[in-house]
């Protein structure tokens, strides 16, 4: 972060910045859209609200952006959280069943009344987030106090989490019609409402990590947890904190996702989004080995993932086949990040600096 703040905008400083590669990737995709998809950049004004493909990238990307915030912190401590997708499903199931408990009667049941809810909205959201935090806490305890490898520890919740979510919803898809809840994912105040949620969570996290010492603690735990322990940082508590926070973010993402499709679907909500979130962080340049992180770069990474998806939909690639293209793009991005390419960029930049 510091490097970009320096006034010297030399070529080298720019290419070495964390934001450089994600932004290049994003602009390449947007350039592709600009050339091949007419009207991709048009933004309509419908009754004071802005609509358009560009806005959709932000709106549909909001779940991955939320996950990426939590995931960045986890990855910065040298861990990884594979269970965020399952946590999303659990949170959505809790929310869904509290608003429409008909699934417990083992029937596909459709409440068509948009004002009906079993519990008030505050209780619904609080309960869902509470359960999500519990999930995060569970991961944190396993990783920090039981000393299980992060990937393995979170794999357990990833495997059983969807089972738990189905247990909550009795294995059925719960339809949500309660309108105030639908506003979370579908409301607009000039911009989509979910974006404000993302912005709020981002801002809080940014203040927390950059204006207090927590950010530094997280980085130092990621670089070397032993030496940070010896220098007086309670690395266990830091790890517990980041996993819990990651669960919290996943809970919010679950609420947004379920309200967006008006269904809490234990099987499909958040399916493979953990991978999207991890890739967003990787594209954002945070090393999987832990250490330095940049929240903003992860946000851009999440937008890159969503921009790919959105542009492929726009050219008419079917949803399932999209995965193959995503894989190719991910490979390209990884190549872009490999030492060989970085060295190549540096070699180009070297003579320019001499001039």
């Amino acid at each position: 972060m510091k490097k970009t703040m320096k006034p010297s905008f030399t070529w080298r400083n720019i290419t070495e910045s964390r934001l450089f590669f994600p932004l290049v990737a994003l602009s390449l995709i947007l350039l592709f859209d600009f050339i091949f998809i007419p009207g991709f950049f048009t933004i309509e004004n419908r009754e004071g609200n802005l609509h358009g493909s560009l806005i959709d990238i932000f709106r549909n990307g909001s779940t991955v952006m939320l996950l990426a915030i939590g995931m960045t912190l986890v990855i910065a401590t040298g861990g990884v959280d594979l269970s965020v997708g399952a946590t999303m499903a659990i949170a959505a199931s809790v929310a869904g069943i509290l608003m429409n408990p008909s699934a417990l009667r083992n029937e596909v049941f459709f409440v068509t009344d948009p004002t009906y809810t079993f519990q008030p909205l505050g209780v619904v959201i609080a309960a869902a987030l509470f359960v999500a935090i519990l999930c995060g806490l569970w991961n944190g305890v396993l990783v920090a106090y039981m000393r299980i490898q992060p990937m393995v520890a979170t794999l357990i919740l990833m495997i059983s989490g969807r089972g738990i979510a189905q247990l909550i919803t009795n294995g059925l898809r719960v339809q949500i019609t309660y309108r105030p809840y639908a506003y979370i994912g579908q409301g607009w105040i000039v911009l989509p409402f979910s974006l404000y949620i993302v912005a709020f969570v981002f801002l809080v996290t940014w203040l927390m990590t950059r204006k207090t010492a927590i950010g530094m603690f997280i980085e130092s735990v990621g670089i070397n947890f032993r030496s940070s322990f010896f220098s007086g940082i309670d690395e266990k508590r830091i790890k517990l904190l980041v996993y819990t926070f990651c669960g919290f973010c996943a809970g919010i993402a679950g609420l947004v996702a379920s309200s967006n499709i008006k269904t809490s679907d234990a099987n499909n909500i958040g399916l493979t989004t953990e991978l999207d979130a991890i890739l967003a962080v990787v594209i954002g340049g945070t090393s999987m080995a832990g250490g330095r992180f940049s929240l903003l770069a992860s946000m851009v990474g999440a937008l890159v993932m969503q921009a790919i998806t959105q542009s492929m939909y726009a050219i008419g690639v079917p949803a399932f086949a999209l995965q193959a293209i995503k894989a190719v793009v991910v490979i390209l991005v990884i190549l872009l990040y490999s030492e060989q390419v970085r060295g190549f960029v540096r070699r180009i930049s070297a003579p320019k600096k001499e001039v």
Binding site: I159, G171, L275, I278, P318, A327, I331, I334
Partner: protein, 531 residues
Amino acid sequence: MLRRVSSFFSKNRQFIPLMATALLALTAYGIGAYFFVGMRNPQVFFNLFRNSAHTLISGIGMTFVILTGGIDLSVSGVVALTTVASAVLLREGWNAWLVILLMLAMGMSLGAIMGIFIVKLKVQPFIATLAGMWFARGMCFFISDNAVQIDNYVFHILGKTKILIPGLTELAESQGNPAPFISIPVVAAFTLLLAAIFIAHYTRFGRNVYAIGGDEGKNEQSARLMGLPVDRTKLLVYTFNGFCSALAGLSYALFVESGHGLYAPGFELDVIASVVMGGTMLSGGAGYVFGTLFGVLILSVTQVLIQFIGSLSSWWTKIVIGVLTLIFIGVQTVLANRKSGRSGAQPAQALPEAHRKRLAFVAGAIALIAIAAFVSVSRFGGASSAATPESTQCIVKPFREEEAARLIKDGAVIVYNRTAGPLCVDQLYAIYPDGRVTGNDGVNQVERQVDPAQVGNLLTAISVDHQWFTNEIYSTYLNPCRQCFAHYISVSYNGQEKAVTGVDGTTAMPPGYAFALAEIRPLLPELTSEP
């Protein structure tokens, strides 16, 4: 006596997870056989292998990958791609053996490509194989959107041949049971298992694999400094796993006789869980290929128990497997921490004490699982302890599409066919514009009169409010949900005809379809369905 047991355990400490797994698998089966007469049928035991041959095959390859400290998430994608690609090639009339060879080559090359990314470009294994999975799954849908039936003589022979177990035929016949048998994929899986055990323990390559994994990459560094061919070994391991995935895909295709891109969802998790339950350390470097067999057995015994209990839904499998994985990882971590001396600060004479404690912990954990399993089976199983393999395996009848088309021709606006479910029904309803609703389940007929306006509202809602539901629902009877209904809705309104199939609960239903389903059901008359 206790000391002797204790010394036996301490001498063979590395076998503890393996023994625990084997014990658990057999105990679980024993408990099941105690409660359910049906499970004493030897065929049920051999079905454990028949139903999980592909998991075992894939698990063998995954064991090697995990031993090197890597992971391969691409297996489910490669399995699905193999089923689709082979099904389509066979439909085009290719030679079956050529197709099999081609699939194995495809799996190996996919594995090799991922291996190159991991070894040469230093991409994290789990990111590279993740991209591999996406690529493979995506390619499935470039090849075919829908499920493709396999109708080939060679595949039919390979999939349907019954291999009788020598010595058991007479025994079973004397008890009045049909002779138990296994299938060719099972034989293939066990051949592969023997080969893999040989490779892992008696070849240079196998020792290299063990040398690379473990200790958070430090062992890999040491292996490199010792001059072992680390890169080549890793590349070979991923290629071998690609081969295993393709073989698993072929045996899956033989098992289900069709190919589709949505097959085997979450399969990689099952495989990884089996490997972990088989006693292989996820950090690599320690474990046995043989253990994976028991890991797979635990998985399939859990599934069978849940099927036999009947009142539990299939998602309990996930929870049980998750809990078991947790316990195994816990035991592993305790053992590993002890080995690496993280708790080595304690004085020497305290060690036997700590050791006994740990032993007690392991024994306690196993006892706890056994008790929990016993209690849950006896609690939930009491209601349907008469469950036999016949009654739990509902034979899903195909949708009565022709009958539906005839009803539509006779003036029905909506025809709704629902099959399977907990009671395994097969009901066909027709709704007419004048409010008449008829239903039959092949035996009984019912009729009911509703308000014609209700029918009109429903049709408007389906066609206008929800702009017709789309046709893109994939219904597969291989769905893990055993309690779900399979639905077929055909609507004829305003000159448009639409037909949709789907399964509730587990397949993704578009909201419009769910709405139609939920609105149609209250209109239907009660059919007294026989169990």
